[in-house]
Subunit: 366 residues, 2 copies
C-alpha cells in the first residue's frame, strides 16, 4: 500500500541500532514560523480547519520537509482531539490557546465520560494515511497524542492554566474521580494511537506536556501510571514492522529512573536535563530524544552550531558497531519550536546536527 522507506535513520535510532549520523526532527516543525504554513492556515481559516482536513494536514506536514533534510515527519494535529471527540467542544480563539466549551469539573461530568467512538476521529486517521502516501517513503511518519494526565489538565481547566488549580483540586480532593477520568483517557488514547498505527503511523509519541507540574508521588500515581496503561495496550508492530513508542514528559527530568521502567523505546527530554547524566540514569535500554532550548534558534549561525555541538557532545558518541544495539540519540528541541523562529536558523540546525554527528562517529568532530 505504501512506498518503501528510503531514510530509516530515525526508526533505527529509536530501536537503538547504529546510524551514520544522529537523526533530527523538531517538535511542532510544521508550524507558524513557516510563511507557507501561515498561508495555508489563512486559506483554511483556522487551526482546526487545517487539522480536520486531510488535504490541508498533508500539505502543512510536508512543508518543513521541502525546506530541510529532516529525518522524520510528524502528523499535523492537536493533542486535544481525543477530548474533543468525547464531546467537550474544542475551539481555538485567535491569539489564544485551546478552550473547551464544557469542561469536566464534577462527579456528574466525569460519569458521562467514555472512550469516544473512533469514527469521530476518522479525519485524523485519514490525514495519517494521506500524509504517509504523500511522503512516498521519504522519511517515517510519527503519530501522537496527549498523555492521559495532560488531557485531564485541559478537560478540567477548560483551557491553559498557570497554576492547575482546578485539576489539582480534583486530584487532591477527589482522587477517585481523577483516577476514573485518567483510566478512560488512557483507554481512549490507546485506541486512538492504535488506529493511527493502522492508518500508517510508523512510530507513536505520547506528549505528557503537563506531567512536570505535578508533585513528586502525584506524578507517579496520576501521570506515569496512566502513560504506562496506554503503552501496555499499544500494538508493538504493524504488518511485520516494529512501531517505536516515544514518551516526552516536559519537566520530568527528576523522575528519569522511574520513566526508565516504561514499556517504550524512546524518552524525550527537555533542555533542563544533561543528556550524559540522563544516559547514565536511564541505562542502555532506551534511546533518548532532545533537547536543545528552542531559544537557541534566535542566536546567529555560529552560535547555533556551537550549541548543537554541545548537545551532541553531552550525549556522547553513540556506538559505531552496526552489528549490536546500544545507546542512541535522536536530536530534537526540548519543546516545540517558537513561532518567532527565523526559518534560516532551522536550516543551520539540521545541517549542523547531521555534519557534526557524522564527524563524531569518525572521531573527528572538530
Amino acid at each position: 500500500m505504501f512506498a518503501p522507506l528510503q531514510n530509516d535513520t530515525f526508526l533505527r535510532a529509536c530501536l537503538r541500532q547504529a546510524t551514520d549520523y544522529t537523526p533530527v526532527w523538531l517538535m511542532r516543525q510544521a508550524g507558524r514560523y513557516l510563511p507557507e504554513y501561515r498561508a495555508s492556515r489563512a486559506k483554511a481559516g483556522s487551526f482546526m480547519g487545517l487539522a480536520t482536513s486531510p488535504d490541508y494536514a498533508t500539505e502543512v506536514t510536508l512543508q518543513p520537509l521541502e525546506r530541510y533534510p529532516l529525518d522524520a515527519a510528524i502528523l499535523f494535529s492537536d493533542i486535544l482531539t481525543v477530548p474533543d471527540a468525547m464531546g467537550l467542544g474544542l475551539s481555538f480563539a485567535l491569539g489564544e490557546g485551546p478552550r473547551f466549551a464544557t469542561p469536566v469539573r464534577d462527579e456528574a461530568a466525569v460519569a458521562k465520560l467514555e472512550v469516544p467512538d473512533m469514527e469521530k476521529l476518522r479525519y485524523v486517521f485519514d490525514a495519517v494515511t494521506s500524509i504517509r502516501k504523500a511522503l512516498n517513503g521519504r522519511v517515517p511518519l510519527i503519530g501522537f497524542s496527549g498523555s492521559p494526565w495532560t488531557l485531564a489538565c485541559y478537560m478540567v481547566e477548560g483551557a491553559g492554566s498557570d497554576d492547575y488549580r482546578l485539576v489539582k483540586t480534583m486530584l487532591y480532593q477527589r482522587p477517585d474521580l481523577m483516577h476514573k477520568m485518567l483510566a478512560i483517557n488512557a483507554d481512549a488514547v490507546a485506541a486512538y494511537l492504535n488506529a493511527q498505527i493502522e492508518a500508517g503511523a510508523q512510530a507513536v509519541m505520547i506528549f505528557d506536556s503537563w506531567g512536570g507540574v505535578l508533585a513528586d508521588a502525584a506524578f507517579q500515581t496520576f501521570s506515569l501510571a496512566y502513560t504506562q496503561r496506554v503503552l501496555s495496550q499499544l500494538k508493538r508492530s504493524h504488518e511485520g514492522v516494529v512501531i517505536p513508542r516515544l514518551v516526552f514528559t516536559k519537566g520530568g527530568g527528576l523522575w528519569l529512573e522511574q520513566m526508565a521502567g516504561l514499556d517504550c523505546e524512546v524518552l524525550g527530554l527537555d533542555w533542563t536535563v544533561n543528556l550524559g547524566q540522563a544516559r547514565a540514569r536511564v541505562g542502555d535500554r532506551m534511546a533518548l530524544q532532545g533537547n536543545l532550548d528552542p531559544n537557541v534558534l534566535f542566536a546567529n549561525p555560529a552560535q547555533i552550531e556551537q550549541e548543537v555541538a554541545k548537545v551532541l557532545e553531552s550525549f556522547g558518541t553513540p556506538h559505531a558497531d552496526t552489528r549490536s544495539s546500544g545507546p542512541t540519540h535522536i536530536f530534537n528541541l526540548g519543546h516545540g519550536i517558537s513561532q518567532h523562529t527565523p526559518p534560516e536558523s532551522v536550516e543551520v540546525l539540521v545541517r549542523a546536527v547531521h555534519a557534526y554527528s557524522r564527524r563524531m562517529r569518525t572521531g573527528t568532530p572538530h
Copy 2:
C-alpha cells in the same frame, strides 16, 4: 534596639540545630487569600502603595501571624524593587503581573545600568525596621530579593513571559551583555540584602523564581554563579548574631548537587522534589525548606493533614540530639500560596506541621 526573640525555632532549623518541632512559614503568607490583606490593599490603592509604605507593609506582614502560629515573618515587598530603583519604572496593572516601562534590551540600555543608590530603597529598609519592632520578638523576620537571573528576566522581557524569548535571545546571542547585567544585578542584590540585614532582617532569602527555565549548563553559568556572587558578599552576622541565607530555585531540582556547593545555609525546594532524595543528594551541610504543593490547600482538612504528613515523612525524622547539628527541615509550600486559598486551610496546615513533627520526634507519629 529590638526586643529579644521568643521563638527561635526557624533560625535554629536554618542552622541545623535541633528543634522540638518542624518550623513552618509560607511563601507569600501575607497576601490576597486573606480578607484583611485585601482590605489593606484597597485602602492603600495598589500593591506598590502597600509595599512603599512602611506602615502598610508592617500591617500586612503581621496579618498572617495574628491568625496562625507561624514560625517566621517575611518582609512584605516585591522581588522587583531593585530594578525599579535602577530606573526601569515598575508598575502593577490591575489583574496583571509586574511591568517595566523601560525594559533593557540592547547594548545601550545595558551600558546605562548601575548598582542603584540604596537610598532609593530606603522605604524597604524602613519597612524592615518597622516590622521588626512591631514583631516585638515574636518570631524572626526574613528579608529577601529576587536573584540576579530572575531580575534579568523581568528587566529584559519587561513583564512576565511564557517562553523567555527575549532574555534568552540576549543570553545566547550576546552573552557578554548578559554577564554584564548579571554582575550589576548581583552587586545590587548583595548591597540590598546587606542593608536589609542592617535594618533588622534576621535571615535573608534569594528567590531564583526563573532559574528553572534555563537549559542545563546555562543555569550554572547565568543563574547559579551569580547567586553565589551575591552570597559571597553577604554579611554573615549582624551585632553578633548569625544571619542565615536561604536560596530557592523554582524548578531547580535537577541541579541540587551543584546548589549544594552554594555558600548558604538553606535550600528551598519546589514540590517536584522528593525531600528524602534531596537530603541524600545535598548532604548534611544544608537545611532544606519546602515543599507542599500549594494546591493541597484546596482539599479538605483530613486530606491536608495527610499530605503534610507525607512531606514530613519524605524528609524523615530529624535528629533529636540537641547537642549536635544535623539535617533539618523547614516546612513551607513549594511556591507562593494561591490567592484562592481558603484561610481555614492554612490553620489546618500549620497546626498539622507542628503536631505531626512533634510526634515524629517522640517516635509516635500515628
